[in-house]
């Protein structure tokens, strides 16, 4: 019986797996606005959070308010998330920038659909990749993750929360409609099976506390509002005390620390999977559901004697440069299939700097890139 319990399995949608992952990670606040194809996440949260120990669920008037509410709740000490799709993600950019500037941990799941604008509401796409990186104005560090199957939806959601809390930053989890709307058997891990990270809180007395102080990791402790540490939070460029400043030396200190806190932990943040890459002459670099098509194509290519391999990106930004360079070592050619006009391929080309030939497969018609499409390009050599 105990063994059976340990292997609790459910047949679930990608969107349902996101909720399971979030709850395992300790999410206790969801604020959102419904939008296809992410709505199941919100609907299940509306069921689960009121029934949980301390969970809060609230439906807001729009995505601007959703982002504001989760930032506020995070400041009050909660682990928070929202989920959306392209049009809603556009509305979130304003307060997402505020979260970057105030270093507020939060998770946004964007189930991508075809765009621009209202686009293709129920069709898959990967067209928000660069928006996730650069959507909000100003130079800012941010972490962007992706998942390609239902089990990964659960796992990457846990990792998204851990990274948000550890680095005090917004983390965007990009799914596409196929991953979100596929049902698969997944294993629900036991509570102790995953490392769950929470933000560090100050241990020094309030009168010594400086909310934006430089630390070893570049991440300052963050107390919840109302816990005795009274300080100022602002979206204006601020000094170590949180007060607005325009002194160039203080401005540059802030900007450099905010970037450094991410940059010096690339080894922890940049995640990828490799499949038959050691001797691969043709390497496919893919993410999300397209990585599954690529995997199928590569198996078929190998069985016809072509040395093909897959680099599956789980972290999209900061872009996994080292893993790409390794894949490039033996490769004569690189193929980057994406359901967009070429948003990751530009990163690949940047890292490649002319070493291998880079070919792209791009689809923007709301249809998945099939294994046979990828296979055809692999077989061209």
């Amino acid at each position: 019986m105990a063994r059976r319990k340990k292997n609790k399995e459910i047949f679930a949608l990608g969107n349902e797996a996101v909720v399971e992952g979030a709850l395992i990670a300790g999410c206790s606040f969801y604020g959102g606005y419904p939008i296809t194809p992410s709505s199941e996440i919100m609907e299940i949260m509306a069921q689960r959070l009121p029934m949980s120990e301390d969970g809060v669920f609230i439906q807001l008037e729009d995505e601007i308010a959703s982002m504001g509410a989760i930032v506020g709740a995070s400041m009050a000490g909660r682990k928070v998330m929202t989920a959306t799709s392209g049009p809603g993600f556009s509305l979130m950019q304003e307060n997402l920038g505020y979260a970057c500037m105030t270093e507020t941990p939060l998770v946004v799941v964007n189930v991508m659909r075809g765009g621009p604008s209202t686009g293709l509401p129920t069709s898959p796409a990967q067209s928000d990749v660069q928006q996730a990186r650069w959507g909000t104005h100003g130079d800012h560090p941010i972490i962007v993750l992706s998942a390609s199957d239902v089990q990964e939806c659960l796992e990457m959601t846990i990792i998204a929360f851990n990274m948000a809390e550890k680095y005090r930053t917004p983390v965007i989890l990009l799914l596409d409609e196929i991953t979100a709307h596929t049902r698969e058997k997944i294993r629900i891990p036991q509570p102790d099976e995953y490392e769950v990270t929470s933000r560090i809180v100050p241990s020094i007395p309030p009168e010594w506390y400086k909310p934006y102080e430089e630390t070893v990791r570049g991440v300052a402790p963050m107390p919840p509002i109302g816990s005795g540490y009274r300080f100022h939070v602002t979206g204006l460029t601020h000094d170590v005390n949180g007060f607005p400043t325009s002194r160039p030396d203080e401005v540059v200190d802030l900007m450099e620390r905010m970037h450094r806190k991410i940059d010096q932990f690339f080894y922890d943040i940049q995640m990828h999977d490799e499949l038959m890459i050691e001797d691969a002459e043709v390497v496919v670099i893919a993410y999300g559901s397209v990585a599954r098509s690529a995997e199928y194509a590569i198996e078929q290519a190998r069985s016809s004697g072509v040395k093909a391999g897959l680099l599956k990106l789980k972290t999209l930004f900061p872009y996994p440069r080292r893993a790409t360079e390794k894949a490039l070592a033996n490769a004569k050619s690189i193929i980057v299939p994406e359901m967009n006009m070429g948003q990751i391929s530009r990163e690949v080309k940047r890292v490649n700097s002319g070493r291998a030939s880079v070919r792209t497969i791009n689809r923007v018609d709301g249809q998945i890139i099939t294994p046979s499409e990828i296979l055809k390009v692999i077989m061209q050599g």
Binding site: I58, A65, G68, V71, G72, A73, A76, N95, R230, V233
Partner: protein, 279 residues
């Protein structure tokens, strides 16, 4: 609980924040901040339990000076952050400081929905009829015919009636006061902070720099005289014939209900489930 000016400074203003403040001579915003501090002091709220959530604009800059938990948010969105804070920790007293452009123009949608869901927030709307910080452009509270940087030939649009808006949207408590009638303002503000649900207090506060100078007021003192002459108790205003109302406007309490706030109703929902779990 009487409190002297010095005691206010020592107890409630931040010692490590460098002054001077950003407000112009003659601005009414400082009076609002002083009233806010006295109201909090009167209610005996611990400083740790008070959260000031401010928007963008001159009103938004007030938060930085006071020794509460202060959050200076994005333009128009103060209520959204406040909603998250209140739902995450209902024990906190959440007070929003917003301007007229902030709360009624860019944040108009958040304003009506916060009132509709009756969330336990105190919304202080500092109405100076203009976008002051950005240089005097029209706001939704700029009176018809008034001159601004974006209405150099006079404002063509009608202005919002903040009180009517909040009443219509379903706020628990709706009131209006002015920075000239300070004692009255303090009474209204105390109510707006201590009551349950969504409480909106509009505060008429003059901006001589950006509004008064370009219109008919030679000095800021004239603007305070105008407030003194035109603010009428709600009852007296209603008795007045419509033809005689002119520039006059009503102040006082317009709505006073005791419906539970959203966070209280949510707590009731959770109690239902936890009773199910434990029993």
């Amino acid at each position: 609980m009487e409190i002297t000016g010095n005691e206010i400074i020592h107890q409630y203003l931040r010692h490590n924040k460098k002054f001077p403040h950003v407000l112009c001579p003659g601005c009414g915003h400082g009076i609002v901040l002083g009233t806010l501090i006295r109201s909090v002091h009167h209610l005996g709220l611990p400083k740790d339990d008070v959260v000031i959530v401010a928007g963008i604009g001159c009103s938004g800059r007030l938060a930085v000076y006071v020794d509460f938990n202060t959050v200076h948010t994005t333009h128009g969105r103060a209520l959204t952050f406040a909603t998250g804070i209140k739902m995450a920790n209902p024990k906190l007293n959440v007070i929003c400081l917003m301007g007229d452009g902030d709360a009624l123009s860019i944040g108009g949608n958040h304003m009506i929905h916060a009132a509709r869901r009756n969330i336990g927030i105190t919304a202080l709307i500092l109405n100076n009829n203009i976008y002051g910080m950005t240089g005097g452009q029209s706001s939704p509270a700029t009176p018809e015919g008034a001159v601004s940087m974006t209405a150099p030939f006079g404002q063509l649009e009608k202005s919002f009636d903040t009180v009517q808006l909040a009443c219509g949207a379903g706020a628990n408590f709706v009131a209006r006061g002015t920075v000239f009638h300070v004692n009255n303002l303090e009474k209204l503000m105390i109510k707006a902070i201590e009551r349950p649900g969504f409480n909106m207090l509009e505060i008429i506060t003059p901006c001589h720099t950006q509004f008064g100078r370009k219109n008919k007021y030679k000095t800021s003192v004239e603007m305070y005289r105008w407030l003194k002459a035109n603010a009428l108790d709600r009852e007296r205003y209603e008795e007045l014939e419509e033809s005689k109302r002119g520039d006059k406007f009503p102040v006082g309490v317009f709505v006073e209900r005791d419906e539970p706030g959203l966070e209280e109703r949510y707590a009731e929902l959770k109690a239902r489930f936890s009773a199910g779990r434990n029993g």
